[in-house]
């Protein structure tokens, strides 16, 4: 029996393990970065933490959505819309963590990072994307919104890499993570539009997604293990 057949036969178990792995990775990142935020009150860290909180919830919603689809449960669209809202918001938060300084002052007093005027725009966009995809019966609005933000995120990450070249080690992994995510969203679009959700492509997307989260986990753990006197370069 080849690997593909084994994966196909154990699809449900593997889906559960995949969701569990990503949720755990997100939980670790949220806990570690929450501590940093509480100490520093840095808005960028706050948005970054929110991104992984939303990713964790989105992947749990995705799993529930899959289960409901398999059970032919009628109002499955609710789970689909919840999943879309959370994953789109996660992408927006990650993107905004890179550009927030252009819109907010670092000396500004701390306010809610979930409900403020700027983030309200993201909430409205995410809800609109989820509703439009439901009405259109596709995922195109989600795919395109994420491809656009990750394309811009790739450019910002490339600029950050240039700025920090030789100074820090993680920016190249950050750029790799952004390229992987852009690739995953593009593959999702291709799988939906041209390959009728071909299972082998979906396996590839899952592998890319795991790599994306592992890269961030690696970065967070590596930096939180750095000695406070900065003896270990990151």
């Amino acid at each position: 029996m080849d690997l593909y057949s084994i994966i196909l036969e154990n699809k449900l178990t593997l889906e559960a393990l995949y969701t569990l792995a990503i949720s755990l990775i997100c939980a670790v990142i949220v806990i570690k970065t929450d501590r940093f935020f509480r100490l520093s009150l840095h808005q960028g860290i706050r948005y970054f933490r929110n991104a992984f909180f939303f990713y964790g919830v989105a992947f749990i919603a995705r799993y529930v959505f899959g289960l409901l689809s398999d059970l032919n449960f009628e109002p499955v669209y609710i789970a689909q819309m919840i999943f879309e809202y959370f994953i789109v918001m996660a992408g927006f938060f990650l993107f905004y963590s890179l550009i927030w300084k252009k819109f907010e002052s670092s000396k500004q007093k701390s306010f809610s990072s979930l409900f403020n005027v700027r983030i309200l725009i993201f909430h409205l966009m995410a809800i609109l994307i989820a509703v439009l995809d439901y009405l259109w019966g596709s995922y195109d609005f989600m795919f395109f919104s994420q491809m656009i933000i990750f394309l811009i995120a790739c450019m910002i990450a490339a600029m950050n890499l240039g700025k920090n070249y030789g100074k820090h080690k993680f920016p190249k992994f950050y750029l790799a993570a952004m390229v992987l995510s852009l690739g995953a969203w593009a593959l999702n679009f291709l799988a939906e539009t041209f390959f009728n959700w071909d299972f082998s492509i979906l396996i590839g997307i899952s592998v890319i997604n795991i790599l994306f989260f592992l890269l961030f986990l690696y970065g967070v753990i590596r930096i939180t293990k750095t000695k406070s006197n900065g003896s270990k370069e990151t």
Partner: protein, 91 residues
């Protein structure tokens, strides 16, 4: 060339470091050392007190001094780590 404008995090670190170096410091001396306007200084100090990073002690002669709390000490120890995190992740 103009000096780089200090980030909020740097200002907090500078204030806490000054207090740690002196163990206890009078408000006026801390204001001078912080290189902030009185208004900004007041905002930072209020925030640091409300976040329990520093505490204001008043003795029997009404003499006021600032000192670091455990949380403030922790912040200084982890400051380098947080700075690394922000730079590595482009935040």
């Amino acid at each position: 060339m103009a000096a780089k404008k200090r980030e909020r995090l740097d200002v907090i670190k500078d204030i806490l470091q000054t207090i740690r170096q002196n163990r206890e410091i009078k408000p006026t001396r801390l204001l001078y050392a912080s290189n902030l306007s009185p208004q900004m200084f007041k905002e930072y100090i209020n925030e640091l007190i409300s976040k329990n990073f520093i505490k204001l002690d008043i003795d029997e002669n009404e003499k006021k001094t600032f000192s670091l709390t455990k949380k403030g000490q922790d912040f200084l120890q982890e400051y380098k780590m947080i700075e690394n995190f922000i730079e590595n992740f482009g935040l």
